[in-house]
Symmetry: C2
Subunit: 136 residues, 2 copies
DNA sequence: ACTTTATTGCAACTTAGTTGCGTGAACTGT
DNA sequence: ACAGTTCACGCAACTAAGTTGCAATAAAGT
């Protein structure tokens, strides 16, 4: 398990360090995107600096092991699962800010040829902003 | 025109000031949401302080004359047009950050009763993130 | 084990967002 | 039209998230 993570990091051209393994493991175990603050808090038991975890997230993203999504007011990071659906919709609570995946939603562009081409190509990240069940 | 704006501000329980009228007029003339920085730059010819325009945006939002949407990495403000469709999708370019309205897109939730109820209720703001036509 | 080079930790900096306080302008009633 | 009251503005400073420079340290190849 951990060994596989190390291999993926090394194969991506990055050196295997403890913090990178921990970040990648955390995001692989979590079913929703986390932002920088949530990652630092989740790994608060360790002594890794915020800047280190920040650069870990950026490096792993650039290496293709994570995906960076602009959710709510901060960047969120999600494990780039090879077998999972690449891009699925996300739900963001406008009250408490929590994020969850919403793969059950489908988006249909109009047949009219208006707006950005990316929408008709389907190369867009979909986000839904509203109140989560806890915030009524 | 301006008189109608003044009436709407006064009816909302706010004092009619020059900066509030200017902010509301700007956002009524613009067909896409603007953030705080864009508003201050659009009104740069004037001498109004950033804090003033910031509070104008907040006050007008709380009064229901504007709508605040978390788009990209910053808050954006949009004129709350009484006759327009209340909530329409927005498109955000992940490269240059520009925002445009995308009313031609429809979102279909799954029939399965999973995920936040807001999605099935339709009380969600829809956002599409991708590359705009200018950014390829 | 040794060298090379990427990575870390610390600190400082940038930008967006936000607030306190004294001055000044907008509404109210006369 | 005028004076009083209260809200809004301008200035400045502060907070938090994101970001970067640089010296010290650790990982990979020989």
């Amino acid at each position: 398990m951990i060994g596989a993570l190390k291999d993926r990091i090394r194969s991506a051209g990055l050196r295997v360090t403890a913090s990178r393994v921990a970040v990648l493991e955390l995001l692989n175990q979590t079913d929703r995107p986390l932002n920088h603050l949530e990652v630092t808090e989740s790994l608060a038991h360790s002594t890794w600096d915020r800047a280190t975890l920040y650069r870990n997230l950026m490096d792993l993203t650039e290496a293709g092991l994570l995906e960076r999504v602009s959710l709510g007011s901060t960047w969120h990071f999600e494990a780039q699962d090879p077998d999972h659906a690449s891009a699925h919709p996300h739900f963001v609570c406008t009250e408490c800010g929590t994020v969850e995946c919403a793969p059950e939603v489908t988006v249909t562009p109009s047949k009219k040829r208006i707006g950005p081409k990316s929408i008709r190509r389907g190369t867009v990240q979909v986000q839904l902003h509203g109140l989560c069940d806890d915030c009524v």
